[in-house]
């Protein structure tokens, strides 16, 4: 399956492995027999029409959603009902949401230091130093003492990325990070994500930003109706889609 995993910054270590995973919402079969292996350092873009289950898939990876059948192994830890495993996985996996989900009652800095202090038990001072470091990386160190409500959408999403990075995660999940943003703010978030990609972070990204996919992804996955229809290197994927559904989807999003 993972034929083209030979790019130089991808290691052989497996970051996420999903075998024969199914999920239902009540009677509705959202994910059907998902098999997916992501190596450490690999950057994956998942696309597909809305309702295709792509968000659900990455939310299964840190168990915001429970799967009902199959295995998910993240960073060598199998996701089961065992709370210790879940906690361990969540410590290693960072996530950015479509609506940022920053904590409005905490300042930007507090947002960033909360999890390191409470989950990783980092001393406050150290946590703040780390946080400032990452805030600089996302280019908003000057906003550290503001509240999320005072920032623009693009800035908020960058804070959200910094917040996740403060936990020093090994894997980052992005759930449509730019789709709630005004057009002029998309690029500032994408720039940060591209910078992040250059550090060699394992990234799973649900997005419709095909430019981004072209630029950084090792692999693009297309999902529809709960199935992985097609996966390929970006260039191949865009220029030579195999299935009809992919072609239709690409024609819709690339034409507009």
């Amino acid at each position: 399956m993972n034929e083209q995993a030979a790019t130089k910054d991808i290691s052989d270590e497996i970051a996420v492995q999903i075998n024969g995973m199914h999920k239902w919402y009540g009677d509705f079969h959202v994910l059907k027999d998902i098999n997916l292996t992501v190596n450490a350092g690999e950057r994956l873009v998942i696309c597909g029409p809305s309702g295709s289950g792509k968000s659900t898939l990455i939310r299964c990876i840190n168990r915001l959603e429970e799967h009902q059948q199959g295995d998910i192994i993240v960073d060598g830890i199998e996701l089961t009902d065992d709370l210790k495993h879940i906690d361990a996985v969540r410590r290693e996996v960072g996530m950015c949401f479509q609506h940022f989900n920053l904590f409005p009652h905490l300042s930007v800095l507090e947002n960033c230091t909360l999890a390191p202090i409470w989950v990783r038990k980092t001393p406050k001072k150290e946590a703040e130093e780390t946080a400032m470091e990452f805030l600089e990386k996302v280019k908003i160190p000057d906003q550290a003492n503001k509240f999320p409500g005072q920032l623009s959408g693009g800035q908020q999403q960058r804070v959200a990325i910094a917040r996740s990075l403060c936990m020093k995660p090994r894997i980052m999940l992005f759930d449509e990070p730019t789709s709630a943003l005004d057009p002029e703010m998309i690029s500032e978030v994408l720039d940060v994500m591209i910078d992040l990609a250059e550090t060699g972070m394992t990234m799973l990204c649900v997005t419709h930003e095909m430019g981004f996919a072209r630029k950084v992804a090792h692999r693009v996955i297309f999902m529809d109706q709960g199935e992985i229809i097609e996966q390929n290197e970006p260039e191949e994927f865009f220029h030579n889609p195999q299935s009809d559904r992919t072609k239709l989807f690409l024609s819709q999003i690339l034409d507009h």
């Binding site: 799967h67 996701l79 009902d81 065992d82």
Partner: protein, 398 residues
């Protein structure tokens, strides 16, 4: 259910593993909760049993069937001091229901009226109602009750000098006396025609709805209903030879005799509860109507719907959706507040079974159990009814 097995890295003993497992942990927590609660209640009940035994009492409801030995002034069913405590309880329940229902009706009417005045742009009326509302709702309802009772009893004249309206209505510090109806044999026809009128009005409304759906023609539903419900019984009443007489109260040696009295205790409780609750309802109504975006009115006007119609078709249905839930809790509050009857000696549930019966028989546990169950049942019934109504108007709105 996850079919995944617990991975082999797990060590340690199984209880810890159960605690670490998300599902079994929730089961464990719940079992512990139930066990602790059970133990707690067992503790309470065993204490109660020990204590009752210590003073030689038991827990049984046989006293309900024994004679109550006390009199009650306002009863809706036949009741004497020889009736049982159970009958006294029924009297109490009916009295509670009566004051609650009367209260809910007047509070709603008064509340809607005040709410509408609060929305009017008439400065003086608006401010005046605002002051009244603020004053009344920031003073405890118990104070209103004793204050109004004090006014009714102290300010109104003695029955000998009762305020008298056309020798039919009398108002004194012994209460408000209405004439009592006396039904002739033929009155049954009027009753039947009234019921028939309601059914007729209902059928006509359905028919009118259908006609409007089919042809677009609006039939005069309101006037027709009025004709069916009021007109028909009136006609039957005259045809059957006016089989209803109203007998006003007359002066007795001490009191007014006969008639249908509303006792001062009832009046005080009813007025206080109505006025107090009405102030809350007024604010709910105002907030409900204000909450409807002015754009809705503008949209209705833009569609050419008349002002009155737009209120009826657009504003009210939406405002009701906002108004009903808080209104429900006001109705519940009013019903529960009616238990303050005890402050003026109105014999409601708290006054009969929770008051005199409790005291004369010394059966605190039994009586309080009954009281709690009765109020709970009443509250649940009102919530159920209002929830039903709420879901209905939601449906209509869609």
């Amino acid at each position: 259910m996850s079919t995944a097995t617990v991975s082999s890295t797990d060590q340690g003993f199984s209880l810890l593993r159960l605690w670490r497992n998300k599902e079994s942990r929730s089961v464990i927590i719940q079992i512990i909760t139930v066990a602790v609660l059970f133990a707690f209640f067992a503790f309470l009940i065993s204490n109660a049993a020990t204590n009752l035994e210590r003073i030689g009492k038991n827990y049984n409801f046989a006293f309900l069937w024994e004679a109550s030995n006390y009199d009650i002034s306002q009863t809706m069913i036949a009741y004497t001091s020889q009736s049982s405590n159970f009958q006294a309880m029924i009297v109490g329940i009916l009295n509670t229901l009566m004051v609650a229902i009367f209260g809910i009706i007047t509070a709603t009417l008064l509340g809607f009226f005040m709410g509408v005045v609060r929305l009017s742009n008439n400065f003086v009326a608006n401010r005046m109602v605002y002051c009244v509302i603020e004053f009344i709702r920031n003073v405890p309802v118990l104070l209103h009750i004793v204050l109004i009772y004090g006014i009714v009893v102290n300010v109104l004249p003695h029955p000998k000098a009762a305020m008298n309206l056309a020798d039919t209505f009398f108002l004194s510090n012994r209460g408000l006396y209405f004439p009592a109806p006396e039904f002739g044999d033929a009155f049954i026809f009027v009753t039947i025609s009234f019921v028939a009128g309601i059914i007729g009005a209902f059928l006509f409304a359905r028919h009118a709805h259908k006609v409007q759906d089919d042809t677009g023609k609006a039939l005069p539903v309101f006037w027709a209903s009025l004709g069916f419900i009021i007109g028909l019984p009136v006609v039957v009443y005259f045809i059957s030879g006016m089989p209803l007489e109203w007998i006003p109260a007359t002066q007795g040696k001490f009191n007014l005799k006969g008639g249908m009295p509303l006792k001062p205790e009832f009046l005080a409780l009813w007025l206080a509860l109505s006025v107090y609750t009405a102030c809350f309802i007024a604010e709910i109504v105002r907030a409900g109507i204000v909450a409807i975006d002015y754009g809705q009115t503008e949209a209705a006007h833009a569609l050419g719907i008349s002002s009155g119609r737009s209120t009826q078709l657009v504003i009210i249905p939406q405002a009701l959706r906002v108004i009903i839930p808080p209104l429900t809790s006001q109705y519940l509050n009013l019903t529960k507040n009616s238990s303050l009857a005890i402050a003026v000696g109105y014999m409601d549930i708290m006054g009969t079974i929770g008051g005199v019966s409790l005291n004369q028989t010394g059966r605190e546990m039994e009586c309080m159990t009954i009281v709690l169950v009765l109020y709970l049942a009443m509250s649940l019934m009102i919530s159920a009814f209002m929830n039903w109504y709420n879901s209905r108007i939601k449906l209509v709105e869609r």
